[in-house]
């Protein structure tokens, strides 16, 4: 029997494939970014490189969220993008997948705080704030941020928020506006 699921609650094949292709696109685009990252990361400024570019690595999740407007889309897209990046051979290995999950949860929390009703400016703002807090908390343990001096921790936090706010917030908003103009999404 042939069936095509149209329900909003289950994932349709088309949505899954869409999510995965977006993730692969981002996996490829991340590689373009990683050259810039590498240049600073080999110096003691590595934590700054991390926090300056972190927003880029978070984009896939919120973008999938605002395009599909669906519970879980953000986390799943972020995990997939991380998995793709891991498969394409990155120098973070397993940390990739776990970081992807943590980042996705952070972003998803923001949308959850609006009751999954606001997928526009407010949702993206909350998503950026939550992602900054959650990923910073994670790096506190994973990358040992607790061992740096206080001034540096504050600076890193601010840089991180600006990076996430721009890439995973403003830039994602611009992209979604362009997509909305095409009328290709019927959600």
């Amino acid at each position: 029997m042939q069936t095509v699921s149209e329900s909003k609650h289950t994932w349709s094949l088309r949505d899954v494939i869409f999510l995965a292709i977006i993730a692969i696109f981002f996996g490829v685009i991340y590689q373009l970014w990683s050259f810039a990252y590498y240049a600073i990361a080999a110096t003691p400024l590595k934590p700054y490189a991390n926090d300056l570019t972190i927003g880029v690595w978070l984009m896939a999740g919120p973008l999938a969220g605002v395009l599909l407007k669906r519970i879980g889309a953000t986390v799943i897209a972020e995990i997939l993008a991380a998995a793709v990046e891991m498969m394409l051979f990155s120098s973070w290995g397993a940390a990739n997948l776990i970081a992807g999950f943590v980042q996705g949860i952070g972003n998803e929390l923001g949308f959850a705080m609006t009751g999954y009703k606001n997928w526009s400016k407010l949702g993206l703002l909350l998503s950026s704030i939550m992602a900054t807090i959650v990923t910073f908390g994670w790096d506190w343990f994973q990358s040992g941020y607790s061992a740096y001096h206080f001034g540096m921790i504050v600076t890193l936090f601010i840089i991180r928020f600006i990076s996430i706010g721009f890439f995973a917030g403003i830039l994602v908003y611009w992209i979604s506006q362009l997509v909305a103009k095409t009328n290709l999404l019927k959600h």
Binding site: I17, I22, I24, F25, L97, Y148
Partner: protein
Amino acid sequence: MSKQLNASILVIIMIGVGLQLTFAKSVILNIIITWIGLGYLIYCRVSFKMLATMLLVAFPLSLGTWWSFVAFGVADVWHNAWIYSTRLYAYLCLGAAVTLTVNVKQLLLSLSQHLHLSATFAYGLLAAFNLSPRVRRQVKTIRYAAQLRGVTYHLWQPQLYFKSVLAALQWSGDLAEAMTSHGFSEGFSRSTTYHDDLPKWQWGLAILCILTFGIVAFIIKPW
């Protein structure tokens, strides 16, 4: 290669040990995990050239991490520097134990058979992964097409991402339609023609690895 671990088991070990690794502050454990990972990769006959490249590529990151703690750390500088620079290698080898020994197809089919990943996800993801080379080409095409018109798409502008979304929308529609017309039904049970072997002892091994790591990392606490 029947003596290899099942993909699902590798993923469980990778996540189970990987999560604990974040909170374990031990240089010795990091080095042990790195060596076990490398040992498994050599056992699975991953080429030495590949392993050497992998270790070399991660070196700048590890050095940067080490250096940043020496430069900006407040307490216990040397210990921290070694913990976080070796941890990077432990994660690298944990990940490589999965990505360099199983392919995407084995991984997805194993996850769907043993860990209840739904068929829609397993086959949908597989279909999308097969498009990877095309995605690469598309990113190049988008950038070249813009350059022909004298425009450069910078990574902080929305255009490149926007055009990628358009391609993804079109391809996902086409691919889903193609799969449906080839008889893929969503939400229905499938008959499986392949057999993915997962002996019981491998589950035991996964539990043993994760528990042992936890006990050593949080009770014994080596340096």
